[in-house]
């Protein structure tokens, strides 16, 4: 039994890391008032680009992850152009980007024959001494490098949001773009910045799936994690630390599913695949029920900004 639990928990941090990074990227973007549904698509882009880089340059998995981030950021420019500059409906633009990315990554991945080629990828880093602690050691201190970076990254984003001028501008744009505009903040520029920065984090989450997790690439490998990240942001009421807690919860579920089957417990496979979404629905309904004050939602979420010119 203990062995089962440790094997399960040891897989949680890595699974949770992808959710956490994707949710954090979305959160950053949505705090600037842009409703972002592109996560699923951008994770696919990040996963494919990172794997492509890993296969081309061999070794340097960190470099491969950076390539994944850049690729996702690049695609997000298209989304930013649509929703910020052209003020297209943000839901429709987000969905279109997802479907585009699904087709596009399959096309490129198959064309360059990156499918099902295992790479060494990110290896676990053993932290001396700490890794020898029973149970905790294996769960927390034998993970890949990116997992260790999650908490610092969350601190950094939290700090940027609340302790810097850029963060104040970003929050004001998300809450009341008219007031921010009157205070001389360039609303389009801030939103572009937030989308690109957030998307880089989503790209990193994608790269983590291919280079960090299964260490190979196959089409549609994000498998709906991007959608769960979208729900996580709502669950977290747009607060970074709560998003991290939600990511851990979903990391637990994700790594439990295959283990239950392996342990010989007979549960229909499709039921297990469905559970994360059932939990997503429950969580969303619960937060909607609890959070009827709606005060924590960015005030201008989903609203395009057009300065009223009357000069």
């Amino acid at each position: 039994m203990m062995e089962f639990l440790i094997a399960w928990w040891a897989n949680v941090p890595e699974a949770a890391a992808a959710y956490a990074l994707a949710a954090l990227g979305l959160l950053l973007c949505e705090r600037s008032g842009v409703l972002n549904l592109t996560a699923e698509g951008l994770m696919l882009v990040g996963a494919m680009a990172a794997m492509g880089a890993a296969l081309q340059i061999e070794g340097y998995p960190g470099m491969a992850l950076v390539v994944g981030m850049l690729a996702a950021a690049l695609v997000s420019l298209l989304f930013a152009l649509l929703v910020v500059t052209l003020r297209v409906n943000q839901v429709i633009a987000g969905l279109a980007i997802v479907f585009f990315c699904q087709g596009f990554t399959q096309l490129l991945g198959v064309m360059f024959d990156w499918q099902n080629h295992p790479v060494p990828g990110l290896l676990p880093v053993r932290i001396p001494l700490l890794a020898d602690i029973p149970i905790i050691g294996r769960v927390l201190f034998e993970q890949n490098g990116v997992v260790y970076l999650i908490v610092p990254i969350f601190f950094a984003v939290q700090w940027v949001l609340h302790q810097t001028r850029a963060g104040l501008r970003l929050r004001s744009v998300g809450e009341n773009p008219e007031a921010a505009d009157a205070a001389g903040v360039s609303v389009p520029l801030v939103r572009f910045g937030a989308i690109v920065a957030g998307s880089a984090l989503i790209g990193l989450a994608g790269g983590l799936l291919s280079v960090g997790g299964v260490k190979m690439w196959f089409p549609d490998m994000a498998g709906g994690r991007g959608w769960i990240a979208v729900a996580l942001v709502i669950f977290a009421r747009w607060q970074p630390w709560r998003a991290l807690a939600g990511a851990v919860l979903f990391g637990c579920i994700e790594s439990l599913v295959p283990r239950i089957a392996a342990a010989g417990i007979r549960v229909p496979q499709y039921f297990m695949l469905m559970t994360p979404y059932v939990i997503t629905l429950v969580v969303m309904a619960w937060t909607a029920w609890k959070g009827r004050s709606r005060s924590s939602e960015p005030g201008a979420l989903g609203q395009p900004f057009l300065r009223e010119e009357r000069r």
Partner: protein, 530 residues
Amino acid sequence: MTVTTAAPALALSGVSKRFDGFPALDGAHFSVREGEVHALLGENGAGKSSLMNVAAGLYLPDEGEVRVDGVVRRFSGPLEAAACRIGMVHQHYKLVRALSVAENVMLAAMAVESQSAAGDRSADKVGTTASRAALRTSYGSRLARIRALIDDHAARLGFSIDHRRAVHTLSVAEQQRVEILKALVTGARILILDEPTAVLTDEEATRLLQTMRTLAAAGAAVVLVTHRLRDVREHADRVTVMRAGRTVAECDPRATSTAELTELIVGAAAPAVTRKAAAPGVARLAIRNLTCRRHDGFEVLANLSLKVRSGEIYGVAGVGGNGQTELVEALLGIEPPVSGEVIIDGVGDIAMASPAARQSIGVAAIPADRYRLALAGTLPIADNYGVTRVASGAYGSVLWVDFRRMRQEAAAGVREFDVQGVRRIEQPAGLLSGGNAQKLVIAREFASAPWLVVAHSPSRGLDVRACADVQRRLIDAREAGAAVLLVSEDLEEVLLLADRIGVMSRGRLVAEFDAPVDRQRIGQAMVDHA
């Protein structure tokens, strides 16, 4: 009081501005000196706000010049004006509701500093309260400085404000203070307030005007844009009157009579309200033991009972926020009551009926917030006019709407009720100014002879003429035999119109009077129970 210096702090001359070919300003002039409160008076649409928007850098004038301390300036945006230490508090506050008071002030300060740092070529611009060097300091120490400045200014003006609180938790009057503090912390020396008292209760307005006096005494130049004569007569050192985009007079408000000022504003003496004696009939609206609770359980209406008879206006007076809004919302079916009855003669209890059901029995509703509750701003005037009667089949059936007829009737209504500023009947209703939007609401609600009228602050924010028009309509309705319930925070209006007056305090009806009644006695009832 008036400090005589070589040049006025702010002087605008020969300012013209057109919007779509329509002149909003036509050679207007205005000047304000340091140390004075200068009122800018005029009807809605006289060009007061437009002129001040030119001064604050929001509008670029077609002609004319802006001088600050005698130096000609040309502002291409509000930040450049702010760098010249001109601050404006708009009618609609530009605050980020989710941020704290200090963060809102900081956001404005950051913008002004970077503006002065960027455009600081001439030495006379330096000296903003928060200096340019501040741009290089850390966020935390900046915020601490801003907090200190807020407390400092607030103490000097005689009010306290918690800079940690989020703006959305503040009252309207407190939000206005945040706007004023924002201007002061960013170094404003010329402070323009656009209709600041329109949203405040009398008591709050008096406090604000005292604050403005304090500022002027400390050497600021304060511009008070208003259409309330009382504000001007009691608190301004000088007054400039505008009409139809032009400056028509500049005078000493204490040496000018109310009649003279009114004539300057409207061009001709304001139409006085005439009325016949009341001829009340049966009780058409009877409210019995009405109780409403807020979401947090606070009892905002407590066992309120009153009767309104046909052919009379029943006025509900009281200091704002004593349950008036909740009473009106309960009557219009916006927020259902917890208990109690609303009995309509010949219909029965409608306390739980939907707004549509109330409409169908002929309740004419004139809510206080016309843009939120009475009009769909982006829809055409014609649709707004016709919407209440579409369901009753006035414009065709479920499958087909007779838009032509709706437009014709809307055009007739617009003409009959003298709604100004309608270029096309298809234009969005949101483009109408406050007074004309209100007239449109009344035109719709009174399209078929009203039977029962529920009006909440119907002339709030309207100029002298529109106000008289609206009041005339209510009296006409009463003389045609309607029962009119007038809920208003403006005591003058209640005294002028009502046949019977009830005073509300803390959700209760604490006193009832028959007109004519001594205003002292009503005032006594309003404060005794507060």
